[in-house]
Amino acid sequence: MSLLHRIEHPRDALAWEGDMPTLGRYTAGIAGEKFFRAIQEHGQFLGTVCPICEIVYVPPRLYCEQCFEHLDEWIEISPIGWVHTFTLVHLDLDGNPLPEPLPLAFIQLDGADGGLVHFLDEIDPEQIFVGMPVEAVFKDPAERKGSILDIAYFRPV
């Protein structure tokens, strides 16, 4: 068989399928547990502060990645921030067109050195702009599970 002679269909060669049957079970971690409990129970964002590097971590971290100190100063963070950047998603993971383009943004939270990637809603996608002020909309307390999806979306302030 030359390099120019290729198998043109999988059925032309012996082939079979197999999977790697594992599921991931993740923990939120020591800092993450506190962050998600506060969202679930109080509809509130928490962050940790590194007083040495003057960094406010949101989502919070147990240690400062820059100076490696243990972080135990916790502060409440406003649910308000601004759109650092955004995209409009047109296709789902299988490549099928979505009924409506889905606005997705990196939201820089006020008073924090980081932010969250999340959906935007209650807005015409045409109107979204970088720098736009937005706020978190939490799900109804009964529906919250201690997940990032306890935040339904962000909307314009």
Binding site: W16, G18, M20, P21, T22, L23, G24, R25, Y26, T27, A28, G29, I30, A31, G32, E33, L62, Y63, E65, Q66, C67, F68, H70
Partner: protein, 388 residues
């Protein structure tokens, strides 16, 4: 010895547990933070970071070392991941050694982490695809099959009984009772306890096997001029070695680990060791299964082929024996968070040679020890020899 002299100057580890609430990063940070603290260093003193961690599937995170890097002190630094499966925990400090011995870096962190509880329903699932997809997977093998076949080959070659092998599990679980980080330490466990555990794949019983574990271990390694400044008890890396046997396990003699012998020969040559039985005072061979400790002791040429079980029965490998083996409690006792377990062995040699092993301290001020691990497709041997 080739290259510049390199010493281990600090070590730290988390407790080894069945299921950690901490994220993998948080586990890594805890071990790394402790290692830095142990030698009064901060991240400012670290020039590069070596991360050792076994299959991505265990933590269920692809690009696992990149994910772990901030917990390993890698922010803004040169970072590399070493990965030779189960051999990783001893390969990572070998990489640490050549990063420093080359003269490229003065001080490096070596961090190994595994959070196997993330992998459900069992980390075995991730191993199913290591078998050849054409000749073996249709039989639906799991990892225990290899070990059962290998253990049986070893037993038959030398006419060994299950009792000859289970003594290793008893010794290591008893030794682990003195390890503050151990998962399965048990000072009172007996041979009968091991022999009465359920059969998984004959001759392997549950008591012969190390447990699925979460944990992290970290070392600080420095060039001589730094080591002499930060500690009066540097533990020098005297030799390193690693080799791969064929990937076809059906083309190997399963009763003898050639890959360990070749790695040991490389390390001994570098360390100037000509009589390992006289010149090695303490050994931490890889013991994910009890027969593997015996198998590996023979591969390390510390006992003749087929003779390690006799030595174990005679008490030679006990903590107060002529050649203490796995005084830490090994993987069978301390636990087996794959990469972290191998590095735990290196940390144990570090603590033993410094006289800092507490209740686990072997008598007689040992001057030289080795740690060894095994992995990849069951065909890698990794060996490090350290001395004071």
């Amino acid at each position: 010895m080739s290259g510049n002299r390199v010493a281990v100057v600090g070590a730290g580890m988390t407790k080894f547990v069945r299921r950690a609430q901490e994220t993998a990063k948080e586990l890594a940070w805890e071990a790394t933070h402790l290692a830095l603290e142990s030698c009064d260093m901060t991240l400012d003193d670290i020039d590069a970071v070596i991360i050792g961690t076994a299959p991505d599937a265990f933590d269920a995170v692809h690009m696992k070392s990149e994910y772990l890097s901030d917990g390993c002190g890698g922010w803004g630094k040169p970072v590399i991941r070493g990965y030779v499966g189960g051999g990783t925990g001893v390969f990572a400090p070998i990489q640490g050694w050549y990063h420093v011995a080359s003269g490229l870096f003065d001080t490096v962190l070596v961090v190994c982490e595994e959070k196997m509880s993330s992998c459900q329903p069992h980390p075995q699932g991730a191993f199913l695809t290591i078998f050849d997809h054409t000749t073996e997977r249709p039989l639906e093998p799991n990892l225990l099959w290899i070990f059962a076949l290998e253990m049986n080959a070893y037993m038959n070659r030398y006419g060994l009984d299950k009792r000859d092998i289970a003594t290793v599990a008893v010794k290591n679980k008893r030794n682990a009772a003195d390890h503050p980080a151990a998962l399965l330490g048990d000072a009172n466990i007996t041979l009968e306890d091991i022999l009465n555990t359920e059969v998984l794949a004959w001759p392997v019983q549950r008591g012969d096997v190390s447990p699925v574990t979460d944990g992290a271990v970290a070392l600080v390694m420095s060039a001589e001029h730094v080591a002499r400044r930060v500690t009066n008890k540097p533990v020098w890396v005297e030799g390193v070695g690693w080799t791969l046997d064929t990937a076809y396990w059906t083309n190997r003699d399963l009763s003898y680990p050639v890959y360990v012998e070749e790695a040991a020969r490389m390390a001994y040559k570098m360390a100037g060791i000509t009589e390992p039985r006289q010149q090695i005072h303490i050994a931490e061979p890889y013991d994910p299964f009890d027969y593997k400790e015996l198998h590996h002791l023979e591969g390390l040429m510390l006992f003749d082929k087929g003779e390690a079980p006799r030595a174990a029965a005679d008490g030679v490998t006990q903590r107060d024996g002529d050649l203490p083996v796995c005084p830490s409690g090994g993987l069978l006792g301390v636990g087996n968070p794959i990469a972290a377990a191998g590095l735990m062995k290196v940390a144990e040699i570090f603590w033993q040679l410094r006289g800092e092993a507490g209740a686990r301290q072997v008598p007689g001020s040992p001057k030289r020890g080795l740690a060894q691990a095994w992995g990849d497709l069951m065909q890698v041997g990794t060996v490090i020899v350290m001395g004071v």
